[in-house]
C-alpha cells in the first residue's frame, strides 16, 4: 500500500462532546485506520465558565459557590483547597480548631469514597457492563444522604469555610454513617463478582492502555494511575494535611498499569476510604468549636503572598496556586487538576494503536474530569 492510499483510508471521527462513553463534556478528534486509532486530539471548552477570572472579582467568601462546581463528582477537594490556601496566606490556619480539622478530614474522605463509587461504576458502564453501575450509584447515594444531612445539599456542599466548617455534625451522624458503610461493604463482594471476576471485563481490561513508568515524572502523573504501576505516591501521606498524618494510612498500590489495574486501584481505595472514615470517627473529639471566629468577610484583606496547596482527589493531585496582593480579593488563582495532564497529554499519547472500541474504557480509566481542565 502506498502512503497516499494509506492516507486515503484514514477516517476522522469526533468522539463526543455528547457521548455516553465520554467522561463529561469533552471531545476526542480521532483519526483511524480500520478500527485502530492512529492519533487523537483532546478538545475542551464546552464547560468553560471562567471560574478563575470570576474569583478575581469577588471577595474571598464569595468564591466557595464557584469552586465546588469545578468537579461535579468530587467538589469538596476544591472547597478545602480554597480554604486552606487563603488560611495559609492570611495566617488564619493557626486558628482552625482541632475538631474542625477532624470534620474536614472526614468530609474529604467521604468525598473521595462517593467519587470512587461513582467512577468505578462509570468505568465498567462504559465497557458495556450494566449491573455494577446501578449498584455502585446506589451505594454512592448512601454517602450523598449523609452529605445532605450534614450540609443540606447532595452534590455542591459549600460546607468547608475559612477557619473551619459551617456546622457541627448532627446528633447520631456517626452511627448513621457507620450503617451506610456496612451496607456498602456488604455489597462489595457482589460488585467484585460482576466486575473483576467477569471474563468480559478481564479480556477487555488486562494489558490494554498500559502507561509506562517513565512517563510519570516526564508528564507529572499522579494518583491512582501512578499507584496502579506499583509506585507508592499519595498526597495524603507524602504531604499530610488536616488530620491525615494522625491516621494509620499507607498508599495502596497494585501492578500492571493497565485498565484493569486502575479499576482495581479504585476498588482497593474504596476499602481504604471506608477504613479511614472509621478511624476518623473513632478519633474525632466530640466537644469543641467547629470554626474559628472570622473577621468581617465584607472587609477582610489578606497580605500579599503566593502559595501552592495540594490535596489527594480520587483522580490524583489537585492543587491551588493562589496569589494575593493585600486587597480584599484574590489576585490570581490557578486550579491545577490532575485531569489537565491525564486528559490531554497522557490520553493523546495513549491513543495511537488503541482500538476504537477501547477508547471509552481508556478514558474512564484515566478518570478525566473535563471541568477541571477548563475551569
Amino acid at each position: 500500500m502506498t502512503e497516499q492510499t494509506a492516507l486515503e483510508r484514514r477516517v476522522q471521527l469526533w468522539f463526543g462532546p455528547q457521548h455516553p462513553g465520554i467522561t463529561g463534556n469533552m471531545a476526542v478528534q480521532a483519526w483511524l485506520e480500520g478500527d485502530t486509532l492512529t492519533s487523537g486530539v483532546t478538545h475542551v471548552g464546552y464547560l468553560h465558565r471562567g471560574f478563575e477570572k470570576l474569583m478575581e472579582r469577588r471577595k474571598f467568601i464569595q468564591s466557595f459557590p464557584i469552586v465546588c462546581r469545578i468537579c461535579v463528582p468530587e467538589p469538596d477537594t476544591n472547597e478545602w483547597l480554597l480554604a486552606a490556601s487563603i488560611e495559609e496566606l492570611s495566617g488564619l490556619d493557626k486558628e482552625v480548631p482541632e475538631k474542625a480539622r477532624w470534620i474536614r478530614t472526614l468530609f474529604l474522605e467521604m468525598s473521595r469514597l462517593s467519587s470512587m463509587l461513582m467512577v468505578l461504576g462509570g468505568h465498567v458502564g462504559a465497557m458495556g457492563l450494566g449491573t455494577a453501575p446501578n449498584w455502585l450509584i446506589t451505594l454512592r447515594d448512601y454517602i450523598l444522604d449523609r452529605f445532605e444531612e450534614l450540609t443540606g445539599a447532595r452534590v455542591y456542599h459549600m460546607y468547608v469555610t475559612y477557619g473551619g466548617v459551617r456546622r457541627d455534625l448532627p446528633e447520631g451522624f456517626a452511627e448513621r454513617l457507620e450503617a451506610n458503610l456496612q451496607e456498602i461493604e456488604s455489597k462489595l463482594p457482589l460488585v467484585d463478582n460482576v466486575i473483576f471476576d467477569s471474563a468480559v471485563f478481564r479480556k477487555r481490561a488486562i494489558g490494554v492502555g498500559v502507561v509506562p513508568e517513565e512517563w510519570v515524572d516526564e508528564l507529572g502523573l499522579t494518583g491512582p494511575i501512578v499507584r496502579a504501576m506499583g509506585i507508592a505516591r499519595d498526597t495524603r501521606t507524602d504531604y499530610p494535611y488536616e488530620k491525615y498524618g494522625e491516621l494509620d494510612i499507607e498508599p495502596m498500590t497494585t501492578t500492571g498499569s493497565d485498565i484493569f489495574a486502575r479499576a482495581w486501584m479504585r476498588r482497593l481505595e474504596i476499602a481504604q476510604s471506608i477504613d479511614l472514615i472509621r478511624q476518623i470517627l473513632a478519633k474525632m473529639p466530640t466537644e469543641g468549636p467547629y470554626s474559628a471566629k472570622l473577621p468581617n468577610m465584607l472587609t477582610w484583606t489578606i497580605p500579599a503572598g503566593e502559595t501552592y496547596v495540594r490535596a489527594e482527589a480520587s483522580r490524583g493531585e489537585m492543587g491551588y496556586y493562589v496569589v494575593t496582593d493585600g486587597s480584599d480579593k484574590i489576585r490570581r488563582v490557578h486550579v491545577r487538576g490532575p485531569s489537565y495532564v491525564h486528559g490531554v497529554t497522557l490520553l493523546e499519547r495513549l491513543m495511537p494503536g488503541t482500538n476504537i472500541a477501547d477508547l471509552s474504557a481508556l478514558m474512564v480509566s484515566l478518570q478525566v474530569c473535563p471541568p477541571e481542565i477548563e475551569r
Partner: protein, 179 residues
C-alpha cells in the same frame, strides 16, 4: 532545599526569594535564565516534575509573571520558579522540550493572557475559546462586565439583587458568620 537555592544563587542569580513552608520555596529570576535553570533543575536535581505553569498579570507594573512549579516527588517538596516579563513584549521561552505537557500550559496561557512561546507546538490553536474576538480574557484590563453587557444585554424590566446588600443583611453589623 537550602543547598539547591544556594546553587541557584551562585550559578543563575536570584532577584528575590521566599520560603512559604518547609516544603515550598519560591525564587524570582531573570527571564534569560529560565530555560537554563529549569534544564539544570530537571537534569541535575530531584526537581524532575513540572506540576504546573501559571501566569499572573501585574497590570500596574506593566509586567506578566510566569510561575513554574517544580516538584521533587521523592523528597516531597516543591520549588516555584518565578519570572517577570514585559507586558508589552509578552514573549517567553518554551519549556516543552523538557516536559511534554508544558505544550498545553503554554497553549492555554497564549490564549488566555496573550503571552507567546515561540516554538511551542500549539501556539495560536484555540484550546478553550473558539472565535474569540477580544483581548485575551485573563488579562486584568479585560472588563468582564462590559463584555457581558455588550454580548448578553440584560432584558428590560429584569429584577436582580445587589449581592453586597444581600450579604450585608445576612452577616449583620457585627460582621461574624457565626455567633
Amino acid at each position: 532545599m537550602d543547598e539547591i537555592i544556594q546553587r541557584i544563587r551562585d550559578n543563575f542569580g536570584v532577584l528575590r526569594e521566599h520560603r512559604q513552608r518547609d516544603d515550598l520555596a519560591e525564587v524570582w529570576i531573570e527571564p534569560r535564565h529560565v530555560l537554563p535553570l529549569l534544564t539544570w533543575l530537571k537534569e541535575h536535581t530531584p526537581f524532575v516534575q513540572l506540576t504546573h505553569l501559571s501566569a499572573v498579570d501585574w497590570l500596574e507594573d506593566g509586567e506578566f509573571q510566569l510561575t513554574y512549579l517544580l516538584t521533587d516527588p521523592v523528597g516531597r517538596r516543591s520549588l516555584m520558579v518565578a519570572v517577570r516579563i514585559s507586558r508589552e513584549e509578552a514573549t517567553a521561552e518554551s519549556v516543552h522540550t523538557l516536559w511534554a505537557h508544558a505544550v498545553t500550559y503554554e497553549q492555554e496561557i497564549n490564549e488566555m493572557f496573550g503571552i507567546h512561546f515561540p516554538g511551542s507546538p500549539r501556539q495560536g490553536v484555540p484550546f478553550i475559546l473558539e472565535g474569540w474576538d477580544d483581548i485575551p480574557p485573563m488579562r486584568r484590563d479585560f472588563d468582564t462586565v462590559e463584555y457581558m453587557n455588550r454580548h448578553h444585554p440584560s432584558r428590560p424590566g429584569r429584577e436582580h439583587t445587589d449581592p453586597r446588600r444581600y450579604i450585608g443583611q445576612v452577616v449583620g453589623e457585627k460582621g461574624y458568620l457565626h455567633d
